[in-house]
Symmetry: C2
Subunit: 213 residues, 2 copies
């Protein structure tokens, strides 16, 4: 398996966690997003969308982090990243999608660049924008976790899974513009629990060989 990613990409961070949880070894393909390597012709042949991550495995290339994680869960069922029951699976997927659909894409590098370039906003305005969307999403995420009997040390019970895989990289992103996490005690607790696990800690951007800042 070869994972095309970037140390700071939180979508690639998700796939790194999933591969680690499954105990799957992988080779790195580094695509430097700030240098625009995602738009190089060679990489566009791998992923025509020009984003990371992409995972080369079983003679094909998979794209889109959540689809990749679901594939890994289907092809390597243990440990399971989703509960067995349909209602539990819907809850975990919905939590993951609060991050994957409603927070992360709005704060992605290409969107921040559009706000800064064509729309002319400065770093201050970008920071307010960035934290606004995380806080809006985390408000909902925290309310959905707190008081739900399925919530445990992790988003769903005693083992980390798809929702934690989406959540933890977003918590790491929240450090960028120093978002106050005190309104989100359940999220903060799950973050601490995950970071005690090698699968999460080893996937952290600071631990990646392509880290350059």
């Amino acid at each position: 398996m070869k994972l095309f990613g970037f140390f700071r990409s939180s979508a690639a961070f998700r796939v790194r966690i999933a591969l680690n949880l499954k105990g799957l070894a992988y080779e790195d393909g580094f695509i430097h997003l700030r240098r625009g390597e995602q738009r190089h012709a060679g990489y566009l042949k791998t992923n025509p969308q020009g984003l990371v991550p992409a995972l080369e495995t079983d003679g094909q290339v998979l794209i889109q982090s959540m689809a990749i994680v679901e594939y890994l869960d289907e092809t390597h069922p243990e440990p399971a990243l989703l509960p067995r029951d349909a209602a539990g699976r819907a809850r975990v997927r919905a939590l993951a999608e609060i991050v994957a659909c409603d927070i992360h894409p709005i704060n992605n590098l290409r969107v921040l660049r559009y706000l800064h370039g064509p729309l002319g906003h400065d770093q201050g305005a970008l920071g307010v924008w960035y934290n606004h969307w995380i806080a809006t999403g985390f408000d909902a995420f925290e309310r959905l976790l707190a008081g739900n009997p399925r919530t445990g040390p992790f988003c769903d019970g005693e083992q980390p899974g798809l929702a934690d895989i989406a959540l933890i990289p977003q918590v790491v992103n929240s450090e960028r513009y120093k978002l106050d996490l005190s309104p989100y005690p359940t999220i903060a607790g799950i973050y601490a629990n995950c970071m005690r696990l090698d699968a999460f800690a080893a996937a952290h951007p600071d631990r990646q060989p392509d880290r350059d800042d």
Copy 2:
């Protein structure tokens, strides 16, 4: 089943299509987004995230459109909305996520309002923004469809599924600022094929009882 939605919400549109494809009857709960009904206390008890859709079913409330569609597919397996093989499922989910993660959330009402309100951009700038993100996503979507042997009259072969459910509402959205669809002949063909089916046509915003413009 009760679907909380809004005629113009393309995430609710996805769930309407899935319910229709599965032949499942549902009651409507109309949440008028432009009037802010998604932030009313009563609705926040249903969906703490304050977004549509939400689906009340089997004694619970499900949120996040893609998680809802996967739930419907797991609990009502026929007709299947995902292929049987893991690679095919990953391809269909990735196509769906190009829309659900990388186009739609960036163009959502709440984001356009932030651009217009706090950031002070006019309708012209909003239209350029809106079409930029659709075109960027459709460029990739079209390349992934064209020349892939799995593509047929629908995104995956002979039957509509999850990728079509995500794509078609986004094509309808592209009419808002009159995006030129001629660079996307495969998408345009699939759109025409879907709209010939009652499940898609009956789910169109123009056919909803809460339509107000």
